[in-house]
């Protein structure tokens, strides 16, 4: 992980492909903050369900809204929900994993038993439970998905902390009387940044998939500002009359997931 040179990055096809895909998507999202071809919520009765044209490069939807503009906006929503999810999931998961792994004993037994039970539980279902408790909306969705992602991060971090705990330099630091909190955050966690980086990217990959699934079910972001998953569920009934309306947002989801997956794989293979 130490020497990061452009040459080394270019030798890693996963990082290159993942970087290009994510670069394009990020570019689209960033441009969307300043400029979009059309207002994503602007309806036009005369331009319903149009096909791909120069005027509307991804066509229009059943209300005559420009699909590309909506995709630009929807990608932003999807990505932001994913970022929020990872901040909560990785943050809380890391703290739980570090504490249980470092201290062991009864806390470890009890907390990990619960974490294991939750981990075995499909995350989409876990998120549905939490959504049904907190209600429907994108903020609730971020919290739900974040909580649903805690177990996997907690397990990864705990495993890594256990691995590092008995290394010589940790023993040395302990002999020098370093405090527990400093030990965890200064000595152990920086050591596992490689594993963390790839887990976070894989986490993004899963978060985008989960967000899309939940929004498709209608428990995520609400219209008219729709995420990509929500767009798909709106578009589904028009799939035969205007396939581009379904396929374009779908492909953007796939590309986003693929981009994160490639970056994660690239970091995993980084030697």
């Amino acid at each position: 992980m130490n020497d990061i040179s452009l040459k080394k990055i270019l030798k890693n096809p996963y990082l290159v492909i993942g970087g290009i895909i994510m670069g394009l998507i990020l570019l689209m999202i960033i441009v969307g903050f300043f400029w979009m071809p059309y207002e994503p919520t602007k309806m036009s009765a005369s331009e319903k369900l149009q096909g791909i044209s120069l005027k509307h490069i991804m066509g229009t939807d059943n209300m005559g809204r420009d699909v590309f503009s909506r995709v630009m906006y929807g990608s932003r929503v999807t990505l932001m929900i994913a970022v929020g999810t990872i901040i909560i999931g990785a943050g809380v998961g890391t703290i739980i994993g570090a504490i249980t792994g470092y201290y062991g004993g009864v806390i470890d037994e009890v907390v990990m038993r619960i974490i294991d039970a939750l981990f075995a539980f499909p995350s989409i279902l876990l998120a549905l439970v939490i959504v049904s408790v907190f209600g429907v909306g994108w903020g609730q969705l971020v919290i739900s998905l974040g909580i649903a992602f805690v177990p996997s991060f907690a397990r990864i971090v705990r495993g890594e902390v256990l691995r590092c705990k008995n290394m010589d330099y940790i023993e040395n630091a302990r002999l020098q009387g370093v405090s527990d909190i400093r030990m965890i955050f200064v000595h152990i966690l920086p050591n596992i940044k490689g594993v963390m980086a790839s887990s976070i990217l894989i986490g993004f990959n899963n978060a985008v998939l989960a967000e899309a699934g939940l929004s498709y079910l209608g428990v995520g972001s609400q219209p008219p500002y729709a995420s990509l998953g929500r767009m798909l569920s709106d578009a589904q009934q028009y799939m035969l009359t205007r396939p581009s309306y379904v396929i374009c947002p779908g492909i953007v989801i796939v590309m986003m997931v693929l981009g994160f997956a490639f970056l994660g794989e690239g970091i995993k293979r980084w030697k």
Partner: protein, 314 residues
């Protein structure tokens, strides 16, 4: 046998932990179920009476214990929205969702294990490279999107099935299973991709180990080493993964049921979530939790049979 008993005990503990979490999640909620049932205009006396009747005035743990034992006896409570027993509402839907999940699971095993073996055997061959790329892409497609594409291509263009033309198992078992085939493909696709990748990697790792060299030294050919020696070792982690995948596929069927308009558990679950009909949500979540926990127990038992080291180590 000691191992099996221990696993049975931890399975029960997990069940209690999960059910407690589910119960508490729905019972720390603001809002009074009695008020929700009777409406805001109801008199305070009536509400108090109903609360007493529903047992809402007892301590949380007592209520949990009552709910859990009732649940084990098949009494899932009464729906807030429809005032009918929850069990009656969901019982006829369970076979649909379960069949969908199990079909997807069967497809996953039938396709991914041979593919995993072939790609590992011809490592870096054309087929292996092609499948590795296809796998990456398939893993990135959410099941509901592949479901939409399947509906579009196989349902509407090639007309292999009628989208929306679900046939109930009570009418025609054959037609019922036939309709579920395409949805189960949508659910299974990403799991197939993951299983192929995992099995391929494990097989290649195991084939490089010392015992595989020993097997060659005894005169085994490649197939002999692969099937007689390496496969069983490589399958051990795959079994854990498949166990989790089965649970995931039962849950994943919720989304795909929506895509193919299948009247399984999914529709009731989603309407109950938006209506805040908690007894129904609780029952469905608990039902799936029991499936998940049961599958995990089965996986542990299969593990014990396949890996002799476990019988002593734990």
């Amino acid at each position: 046998m000691k191992y099996a008993l221990k696993k049975l005990l931890t399975t029960f503990v997990t069940l209690v932990v999960v059910s407690l979490c589910v119960f508490l999640a729905f019972n720390i909620l603001p809002g009074d179920p009695a008020v929700r049932m009777l409406g805001l205009e109801a008199s305070p006396e009536l509400i108090e009476q109903t609360r007493e009747k529903m047992g809402l005035n007892d301590p949380v743990l007592v209520r949990y214990f009552r709910w859990f034992t009732a649940f084990l006896h098949g009494d899932f409570g009464t729906s807030y929205s429809y005032s009918v027993p929850v069990a009656g509402m969901i019982i006829s839907k369970i076979p649909i969702t379960l069949t969908l999940g199990l079909l997807a699971f069967a497809l996953t095993i039938l396709i991914s294990i041979p593919l995993g073996i072939v790609t590992a055997k011809y490592e870096n061959g054309i087929l292996d490279r092609a499948i590795t790329v296809i796998n990456q892409v398939i893993m990135a497609i959410p099941p509901f999107f592949s479901g939409i594409l399947i509906t579009l291509v196989f349902g509407m263009i090639f007309k292999f099935f009628t989208p929306g033309g679900f046939i109930s198992y009570t009418d025609d078992i054959g037609g019922f299973v036939k309709y579920l085939i395409f949805p189960s493909i949508a659910i299974a696709l990403p799991k197939i991709a993951m299983t192929v990748r995992m099995l391929r990697g494990n097989l290649i790792d195991e084939a490089g180990k010392d015992y595989a060299r020993t097997a060659y030294s005894r005169g085994n050919n490649t197939n002999g080493v692969l099937y007689r020696h390496v496969l069983k070792n490589a399958m051990i982690p795959v079994i854990t993964f498949l166990g989790m995948a089965l649970a995931d596929m039962v849950a994943g069927s919720i989304v795909v049921e929506q895509v193919f308009s299948i009247p399984g558990i999914s529709r009731i679950l989603l309407t109950s979530i938006s209506n805040r009909d908690y007894p129904v949500v609780e029952a469905i979540i608990m039902g799936i939790a029991i499936i998940v926990i049961g599958v995990n127990f089965l996986v542990d038992i299969i593990y014990m049979m396949i890996d002799p080291r476990i019988r002593i180590d734990e």
